[in-house]
């Protein structure tokens, strides 16, 4: 057994020991407030057990281990349905990024520990009404104001902003230069005057995303995390962090074994559904795809353990897994015939095919739309040309809206 194997075994046994208190079953029937409180409690316990901030430096309250241990733990944790969703953005991007880019180290340490314990939550204010895939087209602006900055504008699709204490954001500080060059990166206090959060109800009924209005919010210059005009680079560094997040070949939907069990109890044309060729074909093809993604993930982990960069094919996971989860969810609903219309509003998208189906479109858009992922693969891996970009090289203020 390697050190990694024993790390995995210990992590699993700790997770099992707290699953009854925090896992899927313990959460059933809770209101969102109760669930969030349970999540905060779980994070505190996880931190005390030594599984908080696994890859963050010890001097900032982390465990000082590598991405390998972090991914191992996250992969194990995924199966238990723990109440961690509220903190996934917070601990995923903002916390590591403030460790890298905020100068006041004592302040950073205090924030990191509070975030790891679930006492504080960070959000990421990137997208806007007119800037999603085209992040550098954002319009919310920061203007010099005395010793600091005054910010105005609107952010959109901000996950868990309604519970957030702090946020990281990119703002336009110069509209007279090309769009990528006029951006600057800041952190903001979500409780500051002029910050207003309005939850947005999504198609599946959930409201984990928000619109955030910034109205003459004052920032000190110490809240700036990049050189003026150097914000896009830090934004890219933020998005790169996701390369070391745990992946899921189920596309964060139910597993294939779940579909098999569903089909076992159903009939098509009076015969067992599992004997139907169309059902068999869908199961087999999904198995082959998921096995391929799992094998890619295993090799990426082995590369990391060997101190090498994982191969670029890791970029395929989200594209393939979520798209196929969407179609498989449709099949699962079809299989139930007339009864397929029923819907359990408490169903989780990781267990319940209808919940999975309703939430799947979000998965294909959030964190990089399918089309952008295909562009990235084409351009970064296959060296194909960039799309034609009429806004290239001209100042932001001259771009036709």
């Amino acid at each position: 057994m390697t050190d990694y194997d024993s790390y995995r075994a210990e992590a699993r046994s700790w997770l099992q020991s707290v699953a009854g208190e925090f896992g899927r079953d313990a959460r059933r029937g809770l209101t969102e407030e109760q669930d969030l409180a349970l999540g905060r409690h779980y994070l505190a316990k996880r931190y005390e057990a030594g599984y908080g901030g696994i890859h963050l430096p010890v001097e900032f309250g982390g465990q000082g281990l590598s991405h390998v241990e972090k991914v191992i733990f996250e992969t194990e944790e995924m199966g238990f349905g723990m109440p961690i969703g509220y903190f996934s953005i917070s601990l995923g991007m903002p916390v590591p990024i403030i460790v890298r880019f905020v100068e006041d180290r004592a302040w950073v340490k205090e924030r990191v520990v509070k975030a790891l314990r679930g006492e504080e939550i960070w959000c990421q204010l990137f997208s806007e009404p007119a800037a999603g895939s085209d992040l550098a087209g954002l319009r919310a602006r920061a203007e010099p104001d005395g010793d600091g900055w005054k910010i105005n504008g609107q952010k959109l699709w901000t996950s868990w902003a309604q519970y957030a204490d702090y946020g990281i954001t990119v703002l336009r500080t110069d509209a007279t230069v090309p769009k990528h060059k006029g951006l600057t990166y800041f952190w903001i206090d979500m409780h500051a005057q002029g910050v207003e959060v309005r939850p947005i109800k999504l198609a599946d009924g959930g409201h984990d995303v928000n619109e955030v209005f910034l109205d003459d919010v004052h920032l000190t210059d110490s809240q700036r995390m990049s050189p003026v005009g150097g914000g896009f680079g830090v934004a890219m560094a933020t998005l790169m962090i996701e390369r070391y997040a745990a992946t899921d070949s189920n596309g964060f939907g139910p597993g294939l074994d779940n579909l098999v069990e569903l089909a076992r109890g159903l009939e098509v044309n009076g015969r067992p559904a599992l004997q139907d060729g169309r059902v068999r074909s869908a199961i087999a093809r999904n198995h082959a795809m998921r096995a391929g993604l799992d094998s890619i993930t295993t090799r990426a982990m082995l590369s990391m353990q060997a101190g090498q960069e994982p191969g670029p094919e890791g970029a395929l996971n989200k594209l393939f897994s979520v798209r196929s989860r969407q179609k498989l969810s449709e099949l699962a609903i079809d299989l139930q015939g007339a009864r397929g219309v029923t819907y359990d509003v408490e169903g989780l998208h990781t267990d319940d095919w209808t919940a999975s189906w309703l939430a799947a479109p979000t998965g294909r858009i959030a964190g990089g739309a399918d089309e952008m992922l295909l562009n990235t693969i084409a351009e970064k891996i296959l060296n194909l040309p960039q799309d034609h970009r009429p806004d290239k090289g001209i100042s932001f203020s001259q771009i036709v809206a």
Binding site: M289, I296, L384, P385
Partner: protein
């Protein structure tokens, strides 16, 4: 279990590719398409000379004692060139079937000759449209085989065949020399595969295995060949991906390389995804040989590699436009090979059903 290729593996991949790059010739392959009974002799000479026939045969039987991982890497290189690798895969399959069988004298008689390439072996499992029928129509009685095996790869040239047959009510695996067997040539869209119906009429044969053991060995042999073929499909698909990409970078229309149009670049990016899924499944399956979930891993290979190669053939041709459908340009060598390999070693329908049966215990 997936793993990372080591330096030795990389050396096999690079070296086999280098040799084939130097020796293969597209025009030579194009000529073979219109002739029945001819195969690419220079390729076969290379394969025996390089020891590829010996690669996965144990050392004590005159082989090099390596396994599916190494043979897979060679098959991948041959796939990139649509090289005439028919004998390589089925020759390995026949050797493996013999090794797993009961008859020691068959091993000592045949394996060294198969390893050296002196003799060519094939595998004849399919009856009509069934890749591995529950009960074969070919009967083994009194030391002889009678019946017909359909579209046997390398059937026009092989010296000997491992045959899926029936002995009374029991399944049986037999080895038959083909000198006294009639071979009815098939005109196919990929003629260098040497497809023939083999008609056995009381042809002398030796029992390799019988009953459940025969079924298990046949299935495992088919799975192992499917993994080798999957690598060959992967090699072909990857080559087409590169051809499509290179063409999209150089061909211009409407004032820019066609690869700048999303309809083209996304098609190529999606193809890259299919190629990487196939590769991932190939690596996993090759390393899972003789392990518990090998049949499932082999099925995953077949499904993803077939999808990758067929899609690559379609899309690479499409991206090339008119030039892509010319005889001379030769993309159709891959288009044809993508389909012939999709059928050899069991079609998708067979592997999908087998996979689901393995997963759920429910037969089709």
């Amino acid at each position: 279990m997936s793993f990372l290729y080591d330096e030795g593996h990389h050396a096999i991949a690079t070296e086999s590719r280098r040799i084939l790059d130097a020796r293969m010739d597209k025009d030579r392959l194009l000529k073979l398409l219109e002739q029945i009974g001819r195969y690419d002799e220079p390729f076969w000479q290379t394969a025996t000379e390089q020891g590829w026939t010996a690669l996965a045969i144990p050392q004590k039987h005159g082989g090099l004692g390596l396994g599916l991982i190494e043979l897979g890497l060679v098959a991948q290189a041959t796939g990139a060139h649509t090289a005439g690798a028919a004998f390589l895969t089925v020759g390995y399959g026949a050797a493996r079937g013999l090794l797993d069988g009961i008859e020691e004298s068959l091993k000592t008689d045949w394996l060294p000759q198969l390893a050296s390439g002196e003799k060519i072996a094939t595998v004849a499992f399919a009856d009509a449209s069934a890749p591995l029928p529950p009960a074969s129509s070919v009967r083994f009685e009194n030391g002889a085989l009678s019946g017909t095996k359909s579209a046997v790869v390398a059937g026009l040239r092989a010296d000997v065949a491992l045959v899926w047959a029936r002995h009374g009510e029991q399944p049986a695996l037999c080895l038959a020399e083909l000198s006294h067997v009639s071979r009815n040539p098939l005109n196919s869209f990929d003629n260098s595969r040497l497809y023939a119906d083999l008609v056995f009429d009381r042809a002398p044969a030796t029992l390799v295995a019988e009953g459940e053991a025969a079924r298990r060995i046949a299935l495992e042999t088919l799975a192992a060949m499917a993994v080798v073929t999957g690598h060959e499909q992967l090699g072909g698909a990857e080559e087409l991906l590169i051809m499509a990409r290179d063409y999209a970078l150089t061909r211009k229309a409407f004032g820019q390389p066609i690869g700048a149009f999303q309809s083209v670049k996304h098609r190529i990016a999606a193809l890259y995804g299919l190629v990487e899924l196939a590769r991932a499944n190939c690596i996993h399956a090759a390393a899972s040989d003789r392990q518990k979930h090998f049949l499932m891993a082999a099925a995953d290979v077949r499904i993803s590699a077939t999808e990758a190669y067929d899609t690559a053939a379609r899309d690479c041709t499409q991206i090339h436009g008119g030039i892509g459908v010319t005889w001379e340009q030769g993309i159709h060598l891959h288009m044809r090979r993508a389909r012939s390999l999709a059928i050899e070693q069991g079609n998708l329908l067979f592997w999908e059903d087998l996979l689901v049966e393995q997963m759920t215990g429910v037969a089709a």
